[in-house]
Amino acid sequence: MRRKERIDRGIKVRSDDIYAIASYREMLYLLLPRLTPVIALLILPLITQFCKAYYYEKVAVLSCIIGLLALSWDYMASVGLFSLGQAFFFGTGAYFSAYAHLKYGLHPIFAMVIATVAGALFCTAILAPVLRLRGVYFSIITLALPLFFTRIIEATKILGGTEGLTGLMPISNRWAEVYIPIVSFLTALFAFRRIINSDYGLVIQAIRDNDRAVLASGLNVQLYKAQCVFVASIASCFAGAFMAHFYQAVGLSAFALDYSLMPLTSAILGGVGTFAGPAIGAFVIVPLSETLRTLGTLRVVVYAVLLFVAVIALPEGIFPYIRRKYQQVERIVEV
């Protein structure tokens, strides 16, 4: 009989989090998968600007933005809060930034920063009552929130009502416009990975596994959850705030289903709980969605089908799969 055998590759001494690095090759082995995408992303704008391939630049920016939303989703998921409404955070950031910019005449960059912090505080405050509950309440509420806020803006005609807010100043510098999303995307990616691997991150994951044991260990679970929502909101609100200035307008579409569905699909497809997975997922989903632009609203159906298939049939996700292939050699052996 034959059987597939999997053997760990590479690094010899390898405990849970300490790598004893012996040689150049092993350094490369570790660094290459981390550095390559970073460098690729960082030089991409140079190429696109040089070739005047602005379309690809826009796709890259959009991927980073959806990537930020997906990372933020994954961060909340690591404490056991599954959001079905990233659009809520996105829209909040977008509207806050536009408002701060138009009303107080703040410079776009400054408005974005203010909107990120204020928006994150706002989102955390709105979600605070739900954090006490367990189970699906959080998902339920996050699903409802973007829809509710759409209605509220329509009804009260605040923030420009159905027309939205227009005439925002763009981020005038071409380079800034590309590098801000790229750099913040990479920062969020590495920051989140770092946090989750720290002891604080252990607590976060422990809350997901069993919140009452964490309570019994003397830790304020609600506070940690609120902190998680806040940190995750920062990434999402920033994404929204940036897009407001990128499009130079904000409308009700900032709360649209796309901004909930695309990050969710990215995260599930890429591999929940790994951060790298959702990041990769975003760079699959966004370009795909751009190629499907001609399909119109059928695109949403495509995401939904992808999401459905991914969650039912591919529970692992892309990134864990790649990681396994990279770290292990497989061979067929006789048994």
Binding site: S139, I141, V272, T297, L298, V301, V311
Partner: protein, 290 residues
Amino acid sequence: MVGGLIIYGLVNSFVLALIAMGFSVTFGISRVSNFAYGAVFILSGYVIWMLLNWFRLPYALAVVSTILLSGAFGHAFYYVALLRVRGMPLSEVVATFALGVGLLELFRWLGFVTYEFSLPPFKKGYISVLGFPLDYQRLFIILGGIALLGFLYLFTHHTRLGLAFRGIAQNERTAISLGINSDKTAAWSVAFGCMFATVAAAFVLPLGIISVNTGYEALLIAIAIGVVGGLESITGIVLASIVLGFVQVIVSYFLSPAWTMVIYLLTIIVILTFMPSGLLGKLKELEERV
């Protein structure tokens, strides 16, 4: 005016209760939150419409067939998809959500968005109550709502399947050891939720047009009522429907219909803040079990 508010508040409350029941039934029994609920609601409307207009079935037959189809759909959905992800809350939520969005958006893309898609009332005309005209459809909604709530109560308290449902809801492990098949009941819970959605659609949709956005709205209503009422008790559904139903009518009357969602959101936030498990939910206490 007060009389009118009361009558329309009542009708509205029953509309909400009808829409919300299915979602809560499924959740209450098997803890599956069926985010495809709004899609099933609206799809039921389209299917009834097709049976009426394409196949020329009599109204009653069209409705009954759709209810059966809907039950079959619920079963199939459970066994094809949900069974594989049972016990993984994230996957359950995402699978139902994806299915719901997929179906709704498919119908939008297919062009089911115009005014021709509407169901006729069961019976045209109106009667006068307290001097206010009340059309038959709205009267049927009240009667249907009462009947359905009564049915739900009798069913869960006095039939074998119903008692099995309650057993599962209270303690899955014990129920299994008592020989209750949890997969079968869970499949039935989803199927029942879908059938309730169809019944609700048959009653409610003749009041307006069948539109994809109504599907999302129905899900929102079900969620709002469920959350406010405590997601599993029948009394909770009734109370929450009355609260939100009257709030909606009063707000539309004194402010404008557009404001109702604002009040909805406020009500939900206030209730969740002060009564975390809803007006009547035992959910929290049950989950506290160690």
